[in-house]
Each structure stands twice: as structure tokens, then as C-alpha cells.
């Protein structure tokens, strides 16, 4: 496939992510921050997000498995996750986090467990999407083209 086609594919894919609500405006902002002084900014931030989120999800799982659930701790983690995802622009993850927090306030164990599942699901979805997008970017760069803004 030649560069132009790859680029078109990339643009379409990215548009779909926005369309499906995986990404929001914030991600566009992130892309704007990437320039020649900071060429891998987006990749770095997203990687950090992955690390952070995985850690948080593990913590959440552990916390919710306890006999007596420390809702404050759970809330703290969810808050973190919400912050990270909103900074990245991972919209769907963020939305789930908001619901999650509400359940935490109500101390609704069922609700929390359900939300945890949802968050994990959304997270893995968005992770896959990001990974695909980055792969496409790599292909374009290898082919000698430049990433369309």
C-alpha cells in the first residue's frame, strides 16, 4: 500500500474513533502539543495512561475483593482513573468512571462491581484502538510519509 492510501486509512480510522465516542476533543489537544521539540508526545502520554490504568484497575480489583470494602480507597482510585482518562480524551472510560464514583458514594457494592467490569471492558477497547492507531502511524512513517494532522 502506498503512502497516500495509508494516510487515508489512518484519517478515517481516527475519525471513527471520535465518532464512536472513544476519543474526544482532549485528544485533539494532545496532538496539537506534539511538535518537532516533542515528536513522541502523544505516544508517551498514551503509554503512561496504559501503565497507570492497568495499575489502577489491579488495585480496584483487589480492593473490591476484600471482605470489608474501603470505599474511600476505591473512590480515590476511580478518581485517578477518571482524571487520567479525561486528560487523554478517553471519553467512554471517563463516563464509566463517573458512574463508578456515584456507586462508590452510595456504597453500592453491586454497582461498583458492575462498573469495574465495564471500566475494564472500555479500557481494553480503547487500548486496542490506540494500538491500532499507532500501528497505522508507524506504517505511514515507514513508508516515508508524514502523519496527517
Amino acid at each position: 500500500m502506498d503512502v497516500l492510501q495509508l494516510q487515508k486509512q489512518f484519517v478515517d480510522y481516527r475519525a471513527s474513533l471520535y465518532h464512536e465516542g472513544f476519543l474526544d476533543e482532549q485528544f485533539t489537544q494532545l496532538q496539537e502539543l506534539q511538535d518537532e521539540n516533542n515528536p513522541d508526545f502523544v505516544v508517551e502520554v498514551v503509554s503512561l495512561f496504559f501503565e497507570d490504568s492497568e495499575r489502577l484497575l489491579n488495585e480496584l480489583t483487589k480492593a473490591l475483593e476484600q471482605q470489608s470494602i474501603d470505599f474511600k480507597r476505591v473512590d480515590a482510585h476511580v478518581h485517578q482513573l477518571k482524571g487520567s482518562s479525561s486528560s487523554i480524551g478517553a471519553q467512554r472510560v471517563q463516563k464509566v468512571c463517573i458512574a463508578f464514583r456515584n456507586y462508590c458514594e452510595e456504597q453500592n457494592i453491586e454497582g461498583c462491581l458492575k462498573c469495574l467490569q465495564q471500566v475494564k471492558h472500555e479500557y481494553s477497547l480503547v487500548k486496542t484502538k490506540f494500538e491500532t492507531m499507532f500501528q497505522l502511524e508507524q506504517q505511514i512513517l515507514t513508508a516515508g510519509g508524514s502523519i496527517p494532522v
Binding site: E25, Q26, Q29, L30, E32, L33, D35, N37, N38, F41, E44, V45, L48, F49, D52, K72, D75, A76, H79, Q80, K82, G83, S84, S85, S86, S87, I88, G89, V149
Partner: protein, 741 residues
């Protein structure tokens, strides 16, 4: 009763004698009794009398003597035994007291005498003190006089007044008969009588300066007594009176140039004036020491006052001179400005006025060229075109030069074909060269890049100018043009010591050498080549036209291109080589070249606004959002420090940080408390960084809390680049911001 014959008078009683004895004794007794009374009376009157008891003794002695004599009165006639006893007692007592008194006097009289001596001594001393007092008083008087004189002398800065006042006051103080001042003449060989107290002699009377008496006075800093007969002292017509004593003192005349700082001038120039003072004639007055001292002091004061007056005159003169110069300079400056303005106006007008017709001519001639023409017509049109091009070039040159001089010319940089430039030059020069039967060869080095970034038009102009000069000044032979990339060794040239080329990755230095075998230039003319309008004087070249601007313009272009141009020639008739080096950019580099190309425009116009070096501290626990915020700020040019806890924040924050961004939504870390502690840490308002809260939601509570702890603003997350930019600019401008949603 009959007279008793037991004691018979030895001598015959004489009645008269007896009577006289009787009376004398009586008076003696009286006196002897009254003397002590008198003594007592007077001693009582006097305040002090040290020898009272002596007096008593004396008194007793006298009284007893008196008593004796009194009792003696009764012994002239027959007296009883009682009387005899009383008489005897009295005599015995008298004898005792007399002896005692006599003995006492031996002690007393020397004492009394010494008192006398002491009294005399004290009287002498008193007289001496009186004399000294008199002296001191006189001295004080003198001092007062000096002060007064000095005051008078110093109260004016006019030389004439100073001198006149001196004489008058001196005359008054010392009660002088005559007082005169002799000043040295311009030639320094004579002393001229300049001022006198009473104007007896005509002023202008001169005396040669090398008289011994004058030398004597000049060589001493003291007032010297001189003879009234010497020429300087002969101020009064000789008369029958005894002239009073005359004293002369020197008055040093100090020049401005004598003054060294911290160094009282050595009186090396030895210009003195002479002051002569004459006491009144026929008076027995002598010059006292204190009067001489007074005179010396006054002479010094006069010297100082005169020098002050001289300095003042100098400085007044200097000031006037400066003012005149100032005015003249101002005028010159204004004239220069007018001239410049006139020239600029002229150029502005000419710029337009000249180019327009030129343009028309060239345009129409070229259009004409396109039409059907006979060969002759074509030739004519071509000539017209060539001439008008030349003229256009000339106009451009002149205008360029003036804008070059103003410094307003900027190179137009673009990518162009370097090879094409050389080819074009060659094409242009071929016809002329072939007419003169000159052979032109072009050598381009293989490593010369095909494309370069620079001002194509001006580069071509430069090359063309140099080459056409070579052609112009050569009658025969060949011209060779070589161009290559200059390596660092060949960049520096001994002839161009100020040229420090700095090679870098995006540029290369193009070196062009044009060698001709023409008339050459003598070494001393080389430096003139690059001066405007100056041409070397050989008549052969005079006819070849040209304004002499060419090389000057080339030099300026080359300088603009950060290069250097020079000409080498071995002398007249040996041809010359023109060499220049210019800096050109290499196209196709990712980094921007140093040439002033406009920076790549970002999507928004606002991205031009940045906050270079603004120190910002970001406190956020969440790694991802921290990174995003940092990325935002770094993109805006800030210098970002990240902290993730309140303690770390307070440790790190300093007065260098202008803005602190705190995420207040993080549970477990109290952003508000951090803000309060920052407030506490920086008591001075201007040192405190601006605190902005980053929050994920805005409700009134958060808003109020932020205001309560003294935050300067709230920003709602997520923050976009534009929002961050406007937040920072508002914040820095207004020092406060509430709220940026």
C-alpha cells in the same frame, strides 16, 4: 617748813632750766601717751596688720616711757618715798619692755624689709603682665584686621577690586602713609606701578625687575624692610621729612597651569608682584613683628584671591566657548537632518518617478521585439533595450545603494539554481567579451550544490558586476570564472583578517574567483575600489563608462550575505583577480536555516503568543494528567517543574516560580491547604507566585473555597491549548483570573 638738807641738789637750781625740763617732760609724756592711742586707732582702721602683739609691746614700751617721764615731773621737788618707789617700778618695767622690744625688732625689721621687696617684685610683674596683655590685644586686633581684610578681599572676584581693596584696607589697618602694588609687565622684565593708595605717582611708572633689592624681596617669603631710597619705595617726592620705614613683600601670581591636584604649586614660574608699604613720615613708628606678619598673610590672601579670579575668568571663557560650540553643533545637526530628509524625499520621489518611465521603455521595447521587425530594426530595438536595461540597472543601483546605506535592504531568500545563475551571467557577458575578443571560461566545482538558498537576484548582480568589470578593464586575453565550495582553510584569507566564517550544517560558503589578464591595478589603488564613485585614474578606463558604484554595491551585498569580497592584483599591467565568498543556505534541511525565513506557521495565529521561560510549578497527583499539563505548558514555552505532593510542592516552590497550578480535585491531597501554606511562605506579595486551581468540576463550593484560601484563579479540566494560553496571559496581565471555563 624748811628745805630738807639730806639730799642736796648737786647743782644750783636754775629756775628757767627747771621750768623747761618740766615742760619738756610733760610734752614727752603727752606724746608718749598719744602715740599708742594713734597707733591703736589707725590699726583698728586698717584691715590687716600682722604684728598686733608687736604693737602692744611697743605700746607698752611707750606708755611706760611716758609714765616714767610723767612721774619724773614729781621728782623735781621734794618727793615722798612712794613717788620714788613708783618711779623705780616704772623705770624697771620700762627697761624690761624696752629690752624685749629691742630684741623683738631684730626679728621684725628684716621681715618688714622683705615685704617691701616682695611688693616691689609684684609691682614689676604686674607691669610686665600689663605689657604682655597689651601685646596680645594688639595681636588680636591684628588678627581681626586680617580677617576683615581677607573678608574684604575675598568678597569680590574682580581682580581690580581685590587689589584696590587690599591696599585701602591695609592702609587703614596699619595707618600707612602709602601703599603700592607693582605688577610685572607682559615681558616680565619690568615692574609696573599698578595701584597706589593715594595716587601720588603716575600709574605706569616702571622699574626694571632685576634690581638687587627686588630680588632680595622676591627670594624671601617674608616681608622685608627696604630702604626708603630704593626706586620702588620712592613713592613720594623727596622732602624735608624723614621718610617712614618701608617694607616690601612679594605676592605670588599663580597661573591656572600651576595647579596640580594635591600639590600646592611649586612656585616654579616665579612671577611675583611687589607690594610696598610705607609708614607715615616723621613718626617714630617702627614696623612691629605682628605688623609684618599681617602684611605677609595679606599678601598670600591676595595671591589666592587673584588666582580664584583668574580661574573664574577662565571658566567663564570656557563656558562661553562651549555654548557657542553647542549652538554651532546644533545648527550643523539640524542642517544635516534637513539634508537627510531632503535626500530621502528626493529618493522616494525619484524611486517612483524614474522607474516608471524606465519600466515603460523596457516593457514597450520588449514588446516591440516580439513583433515583426527587419534585421536592422531588430538591432536597433535590441540596442534600445540594452541601453534602457543599463539605465534601469543604474537607477536601481543608486536607489539600492541608498537603501543599503540606510540599512533597510533585506535579502530575499529563496531556493534557486546556482548553476543557472552562472550560466546566465556567462550568457550575458559573452557578446561583450566576444566583441573585445576576450575568452571567458567558467569552472564550476563538482561539489558545488545545484540548488542553494539565497538572494538570487543580488547574487547574480554581484557576479555580473565583477565579471563585467573584468571584461571592462581587459583589452585582451582571457577571463576565467571559478566557483567552488570554500573549505575552512581557504575561508580565512590573510587579506581578510576580520572575516571569521563559521561553517555550519545548513550553509556553505561559495567562493567565486574571477581572474582577468587586463590592465591590473596598482596596490595602493586597491582600497579605493570599493569606495563609492571613486575610479582609478587610468585614462583608458575612463571611457568605458560606469558610475563607479558597482563594486561598492557588490561589497554591500556580499556583506549582507555574511561574506567578504576583495581584489588582488600584482600591479599595473599584470591583470587582477576579484574574489568573493558568500554564505548560502543548503536547501532540503529539516531544521530551519539561519537565514531569516519566516517560521512555519502553526494552525492558529495565537500560537505566536508564548511565555518563554515562564517558570511554572504543577502539582498533580495523577501521572497522566500531570504529563498532559506539562506538555501543554512546555508547548507554550514555559519552564515546568512537576511535583506530586503538597510537601514536595512547598519544598520546591520558590520566588522564581511565577505560577503554581494545583489540582484541587485529588482526594487525599489538600490543594487548598497547599495554597494556604504557599501564602504563608511568601509574605511579600510580589514574590508570591500566582496560584491557579485545576479542577474537574465547577460548583460554587469549590469556587468559594478557592477564593477563601487566596487562589488567584480556577481552570476547569480538561484544559485545551488555547485555554491554557489565554489563562496564562490573563493571569500574568491582570494578576487574577476567575474563572476560566
Amino acid at each position: 617748813m624748811e628745805s630738807c638738807y639730806c639730799i642736796e641738789p648737786q647743782w644750783p637750781a636754775d629756775e628757767l632750766l627747771m621750768k623747761y625740763q618740766y615742760i619738756s617732760d610733760f610734752f614727752i609724756a603727752l606724746a608718749y601717751f598719744s602715740i599708742p592711742l594713734e597707733l591703736i586707732y589707725f590699726v583698728k582702721k586698717s584691715a590687716v596688720f600682722p604684728y598686733r602683739w608687736v604693737l602692744v609691746q611697743f605700746g607698752a614700751f611707750i606708755v611706760l616711757c611716758g609714765a616714767t617721764h610723767l612721774i619724773n615731773l614729781w621728782t623735781f621737788t621734794v618727793h615722798s618715798r612712794t613717788v620714788a618707789i613708783v618711779m623705780t617700778t616704772a623705770k624697771v618695767l620700762t627697761a624690761a619692755v624696752s629690752c624685749a622690744t629691742a630684741l623683738m625688732l631684730v626679728h621684725i625689721i628684716p621681715d618688714l624689709l622683705s615685704v617691701q621687696t616682695r611688693e616691689l617684685f609684684l609691682k614689676n610683674k604686674a607691669a610686665e603682665l600689663d605689657r604682655e596683655m597689651g601685646l596680645i590685644r594688639t595681636q588680636e586686633e591684628t588678627g581681626r584686621h586680617v580677617r576683615m581684610l581677607t573678608h574684604e578681599i575675598r568678597s569680590t572676584l574682580d581682580r581690580h577690586t581685590i587689589l584696590q581693596t587690599t591696599l585701602v584696607e591695609l592702609g587703614r589697618t596699619l595707618a600707612l602713609e602709602e601703599c603700592a602694588l607693582w605688577m610685572p609687565t607682559r615681558t616680565g622684565l619690568e615692574l609696573q606701578l599698578s595701584y597706589t593708595l593715594h595716587q601720588q605717582n603716575p600709574v605706569g611708572y616702571t622699574v626694571p625687575i632685576h634690581l638687587p633689592v627686588i630680588n632680595q624681596v622676591f627670594s624671601s617669603s617674608h616681608a622685608v624692610k627696604i630702604s626708603p631710597n630704593c626706586p620702588v619705595a620712592r613713592l613720594r617726592p623727596a622732602g624735608k621729612y624723614v621718610p617712614g620705614e618701608v617694607v616690601a613683600v612679594r605676592v605670588p601670581l599663580l597661573h591656572l597651569s600651576n595647579f596640580q591636584i594635591n600639590d600646592w604649586p611649586e612656585l616654579s614660574t616665579k612671577r611675583y608682584a611687589l607690594m610696598v608699604l610705607m609708614l607715615p613720615a616723621d613718626s617714630a613708628r617702627q614696623w612691629h613683628v605682628y605688623e609684618l606678619e599681617l602684611v605677609e598673610v595679606v599678601a598670600d590672601q591676595v595671591a589666592v584671591a587673584l588666582s580664584h579670579a583668574a580661574i573664574l575668568e577662565e571658566s567663564m571663557r570656557a563656558r562661553e566657548l562651549l555654548m557657542e560650540q553647542n549652538v554651532a553643533l546644533d545648527l550643523a545637526r539640524r542642517e544635516a537632518e534637513t539634508a537627510i530628509r531632503a535626500r530621502n524625499d528626493f529618493l522616494a520621489v525619484m524611486n517612483h518617478e524614474m522607474r516608471t518611465p524606465m519600466h515603460v521603455i523596457i516593457a514597450l521595447s520588449s514588446l516591440l521585439q516580439e513583433t515583426e521587425l527587419t534585421p536592422e530594426q531588430r538591432l536597433m530595438v535590441e540596442t534600445i533595450l540594452k541601453s534602457s536595461n543599463l539605465l534601469a540597472t543604474l537607477i536601481n543601483d543608486v536607489l539600492d545603494l541608498s537603501s543599503l546605506e540606510d540599512g533597510s535592504l533585506q535579502l530575499e531568500l529563496e531556493t534557486f539554481n546556482l548553476y543557472a545563475v552562472f550560466r546566465e551571467v556567462l550568457n550575458l557577458i559573452e557578446p561583450v567579451a566576444s566583441v573585445k575578443r576576450l575568452h571567458v571560461s567558467l569552472n564550476l566545482a563538482p561539489d558545488l550544490p545545484e540548488y542553494a538558498i539565497g538572494d538570487e537576484k543580488r547574487l547574480m548582480q554581484t557576479i555580473l558586476n565583477v565579471v563585467s568589470n573584468a571584461v571592462k578593464f581587459s583589452m585582451e586575453g582571457s577571463i576565467s570564472i571559478t566557483a567552488f565550495v570554500a573549505k575552512s582553510e581557504s575561508l580565512r584569507d590573510s587579506r581578510a583578517p576580520e572575516f571569521y566564517p563559521v561553517p555550519s550544517d545548513n550553509h556553505f560558503y561559495l567562493r567565486v574567483q574571477v581572474k582577468d589578464s587586463g590592465s591590473g591595478i596598482s596596490p595602493q589603488d586597491i582600497h579605493k575600489l570599493f569606495t563609492k564613485f571613486a575610479q582609478t585614474q587610468s585614462t583608458a578606463t575612463r571611457n568605458s563608462g560606469g558610475s563607479g558604484l558597482g563594486l561598492a554595491i557588490c561589497k554591500r551585498f556580499v556583506n549582507l550575505m555574511e561574506g567578504h569580497i576583495w581584489i588582488e592584483s600584482e600591479g599595473l599591467g599584470k591583470g587582477c583577480t576579484a574574489i568573493f565568498i558568500v554564505k548560502l543556505g543548503i536547501p532540503g534541511c529539516l531544521n530551519e536555516s539561519k537565514l531569516p525565513i519566516m517560521p512555519r506557521m502553526s494552525t492558529t495565529i495565537h500560537s505566536q503568543i508564548a511565555f518563554p521561560g515562564l517558570k511554572v510549578l504543577v502539582m498533580d497527583e495523577n501521572g497522566v494528567s500531570r504529563m498532559v499539563t506539562k506538555g501543554l505548558l512546555v508547548h507554550l514555552g514555559c519552564d515546568v517543574t512537576m511535583v506530586s505532593s503538597s510537601d514536595e510542592c512547598l519544598r520546591v516552590v520558590s520566588h522564581e516560580h511565577k505560577v503554581v497550578l494545583i489540582d484541587v480535585c485529588v482526594p487525599g491531597i489538600d490543594g487548598y491547604e497547599t495554597a494556604m501554606r504557599i501564602h504563608e511562605k511568601f509574605t511579600k506579595h510580589h514574590e508570591r507566585p500566582l496560584i491557579v486551581a485545576l479542577t474537574g468540576n465547577t460548583d460554587k463550593v469549590i469556587n468559594e473555597n478557592c477564593m477563601k484560601v487566596g487562589m488567584d484563579g480556577i481552570v476547569l479540566k480538561p484544559v485545551s491549548l488555547d485555554k491554557m494560553r489565554s489563562v496564562l496571559s490573563d493571569l500574568l496581565e491582570h494578576q487574577v483570573l476567575f474563572e476560566a471555563i
